[in-house]
């Protein structure tokens, strides 16, 4: 076992935690806002995939990874707009529509990829990194933590920004009111439909960005179905974090580390089967739910559409 704790192993584990964790973080932060506002956004998996596809396509055609990220955001928002229209404005069942949108995006992106690239998977050039001076030179930690793409730092900053907005401005309480008792927000002069729609669009943008990160930075290419449940993990992270962005960050890094442990173990030459490792984060979540399940309180109006004047 001693061989496991080599520098190479730790370095690849940390790198993996970040590479795999950032999309989860972005998705989790996005989903968190929807859930706060009372929308259970099961369509987030589809939003990520749309972001991954459109993000990759934009980056590939424009040769700009930053335009690619914008494309990813746009892809996520596109799906989210449909979700907001159907679930928030028309109050259709959020779970049914969420599943439908995910299935639809899976099918559409696979078709689009097929008709454009057939069986080939073109690769993007390796992204440029930001090497923070001095910090990158720290052994083990340095290259994994400080030699990353700028988007990583933006994602980390967004955690703090969201934490600030939720705590210090009216945003947090407006969202919570929309999720707990939308009628109370409405009669207080707030705009339930607008705030919920905006939250869903924000979720779409974040999820799309996360998907684009997976395609453009994580893999460097687009493969159909490549998000592989990352959106669902985002939902779980948001539910467990109970409204706190920093908890989403912690959860995303733990999940990211577990998901990338397999690669790290291969680097270290271990032969523990990958499937066993992949079970770990989900087993951990179940354990957490068994122990603290009663406290995983969800907003009272989560999943319930709001209609003014309905009794």
């Amino acid at each position: 076992m001693e061989a496991l704790l080599t520098a190479a192993f730790l370095s690849s584990l940390l790198t993996g935690a970040i590479v795999a964790g950032i999309p989860l973080l972005l998705a989790g932060l996005g989903e968190q806002m929807s859930e706060k506002a009372g929308v259970l956004n099961i369509g987030i998996e589809g939003m990520m995939l749309a972001g991954a596809y459109l993000g990759f396509l934009t980056a590939w055609t424009s040769s700009s990874i930053w335009l690619g990220f914008l494309g990813g955001i746009a892809g996520g928002i596109l799906v989210a707009a449909l979700m907001a229209l159907l679930c928030v404005v028309l109050r259709l069942n959020q779970i049914v529509i969420g599943i439908a949108l995910t299935l639809g995006v899976e099918g559409m992106t696979a078709l689009l990829h097929h008709f454009q690239f057939s069986r080939t998977y073109p690769r993007l050039p390796a992204p440029d990194r930001v090497d923070l001076p001095f910090l990158t030179d720290i052994p083990v930690l340095g290259p994994s933590l400080f030699g990353r793409h700028p988007l990583v730092y933006l994602a980390l900053i967004s955690v703090l920004v969201l934490a600030f907005l939720y705590r210090r401005t009216n945003l947090g309480l407006t969202l919570r009111a929309a999720g707990e008792k939308p009628a109370a927000l409405d009669v207080a002069g707030g705009h339930v439909i607008a705030i919920r729609s905006a939250a869903v669009l924000f979720t779409g943008g974040m999820a799309g960005l996360g998907g684009a990160y997976m395609a453009n930075i994580g893999a460097g290419l687009f493969i159909p179905y490549m998000t592989g449940g990352a959106g669902f993990i985002g939902i779980v992270l948001a539910m467990l974090a109970r409204g706190r962005p920093l908890w989403v960050l912690a959860g995303a890094l733990i999940f990211g580390a577990a998901l990338s442990l397999t690669t790290a173990l291969q680097v270290a030459g271990s032969n523990i089967p990958t499937d066993v490792i992949q079970m770990l984060p989900f087993a951990a979540v179940m354990l957490v739910l068994v122990i603290w399940g009663r406290r995983a309180r969800l907003p009272a109006a989560l999943g319930v559409g709001y209609e003014r004047g309905a009794r």
């Binding site: 401005t169 945003l171 309480l173 009111a177 707990e180 008792k181 109370a184 009669v187 002069g189 707030g190």
Partner: protein
């Protein structure tokens, strides 16, 4: 407060309805109503359930828009197409059901509705709340969690919120229904002070005495139409009795339905059927615990449980029916200890519970009437045979219920959620009396019903007791208890504060009950269960 000082003679219009009509599917809720509310006046709206008061409130609050006619604010036509439009026009509403977010603090509820990017100005709000507390006697603790406060305290927050927004029109929709008599008086005094400062207050109530004491002008609605009006000078000339008589005449077209059904009868003397001994239940953040509750209930007797809403009455009913587990004491039924029995087992013994929550607990709105009539007997003969449903039997039973209890419904297949409250109540009563009922717990049986159904329900309760069933009648309406009950126990803070024999003749009964209700525990032991 920065309200302009206005003299009592300034009678300019604050808000007006002009031949306003509002239809809902199958209902003409408001029918060509015109109404002018003036600044500096407390304008009382009276009317039965379904008379259109709530719809008028809804239109003024921006929740609904009129189908015909229009609304004017301060003399100019206004379109109140959303709650924020209504707030912008200076109209603030305190709804019948509290419209605060229970999981936010009081402060957060006060600033709710402001643009999301803005940071709330704590100091400024603190200063203004201090002013309001001084000027109007409002009690507001900014950092309390809203859900932990009593309904009365939450109402004070809603009033404070209206004043923070410089409302010129304040609507209070059945604001006193959840308050103690002294709490209602305090609110009335606040209303008077607000009116003196130049606000227009629209006060909706069921209580005619309050209408007289707090109101300047009284308008009466009946079935969506405005049927009468008592102007300030006329009201000032009447004494309370004359005013109430006039209001009753307007509301019910002269027929006096409030005549008491009370009649003397011998107190039942049989051995107790239901005995509660030192019963206790666990409490929680939003749930009052029961402590040390004891009483007996005899066959043929009606024992009333009085008290302000939320003092453990529902928990008592649930503990007796088996829905809530007891942590102390025991419940004896017909000599046997039933404390550990399930809801179904107690029902089979004849102990029945008619819930106050007709819609979300008593019935399943989307199920047809037929299934709802047998919901408490699933799997039992004759409606099921070996676990297989017998739709013909269930249908015949449901038709019998509809006929016998005069339920107004198209057929037994109609989803019960489509019926009115009174008709649902009839179905529920039928369900509780099916089979061998021996004792029935009624929890607020007439809550939300209109006058005709209230009278019918009360007659039924009396008949049930006359047939020899034991009746536990939980109610927040003192009139109802005095009309029906043989003895009245008063609950406060999860305990029984005292029990009095209903000697309706004695005039101070109401006063004695009222004192027990608000009492903080001093009198509990002295009155005890002497009756």
């Amino acid at each position: 407060m920065t309200l302009p000082a206005q003299t009592a003679s300034d009678m300019s219009e604050a808000v007006g309805l002009h031949t306003v009509t509002k239809r809902f599917p199958g209902v003409l809720a408001v029918d060509g109503v015109s109404l002018t509310v003036r600044t500096g006046e407390v304008h009382v709206l009276l009317g039965e359930n379904g008379a259109g008061k709530s719809t008028i409130v809804g239109m003024l609050a921006g929740l609904q828009e009129p189908d015909d006619g229009h609304i004017s604010v301060a003399g100019t036509g206004s379109r109140l197409d959303s709650p924020s439009a209504s707030l912008d026009a200076g109209i603030a509403t305190v709804f019948q059901h509290v419209m605060l977010v229970p999981t936010l603090t009081v402060f957060e509820n006060l600033v709710l509705g402001a643009p999301w990017w803005r940071r709330p100005h704590r100091a400024q709000i603190e200063r203004r709340i201090a002013e309001l507390s001084r000027d109007f006697g409002l009690k507001v603790q900014l950092d309390a969690m809203t859900g932990d406060l009593s309904l009365g305290e939450q109402q004070q927050i809603e009033i404070a919120r209206a004043l923070l927004r410089d409302a010129r029109v304040l609507i209070l929709d059945e604001a006193t229904s959840m308050l103690t008599p002294s709490g209602a008086d305090e609110l009335g005094a606040q209303m008077r002070r607000l009116a003196e400062r130049g606000l227009a207050v629209i006060f909706i109530t069921h209580k005619l005495g309050e209408a007289y004491r707090f109101g300047d002008r009284i308008s009466v609605l009946q079935q969506g139409r405005m049927v009468g009006d008592i102007a300030p000078d006329a009201l000032a000339r009447m004494d309370e009795d004359a005013a109430i008589e006039e209001m009753v005449r307007l509301m019910f077209g002269g027929s006096d339905t409030s005549a008491s059904l009370y009649r003397d009868r011998p107190a039942p003397t049989a051995a107790p059927l239901l005995s509660v001994e030192r019963l206790g239940t666990e409490g929680g953040a939003e749930m009052m615990a029961l402590k040390d509750l004891s009483f007996d209930l005899r066959p043929g007797e009606i024992l009333g449980i009085a008290g302000i809403d939320g003092n453990g009455q529902k928990q008592l009913a649930e503990a007796l029916s088996g829905q809530r587990s007891a942590t102390a004491g025991r419940v004896m039924f017909d000599g046997a200890d039933v404390t550990r029995l399930s809801v179904g087992q107690r029902r089979k013994l004849g102990l029945r519970y008619l819930t106050d929550d007709r819609l979300s607990e008593g019935t399943i709105g989307i199920f047809p009437i037929a299934e709802n009539t047998v919901l408490k007997d699933i799997g039992a003969a004759p409606f099921w045979s070996g676990g297989i449903e017998r739709p013909a039997r269930i249908g015949a039973h449901a038709r019998e219920v509809i006929r016998h209890y005069s339920v107004r419904a198209p057929s037994e297949f109609t989803p019960i959620g489509h019926l009115s409250g009174g008709n649902i109540q009839k179905v529920l009563l039928a369900r509780e009396l099916t089979g061998e009922a021996r004792a029935v717990i009624f929890n607020k049986p007439t809550y939300g019903l209109d006058t005709r159904n209230i009278a019918a329900s009360r007659r039924r309760i009396r008949e049930i007791a006359d047939k020899g069933l034991a009746v536990l009648l939980i109610s927040t309406e003192l009139d109802e208890l005095i009309e029906l009950a043989d003895r009245i126990a008063v609950m406060a803070s999860g305990r029984i504060r005292g029990t009095v024999v209903n000697d309706a003749g004695a005039g101070d009964l109401r006063l004695r009950l009222g004192r027990l209700m608000v009492d903080e525990g001093k009198m509990a032991d002295t009155t005890g269960d002497a009756a």
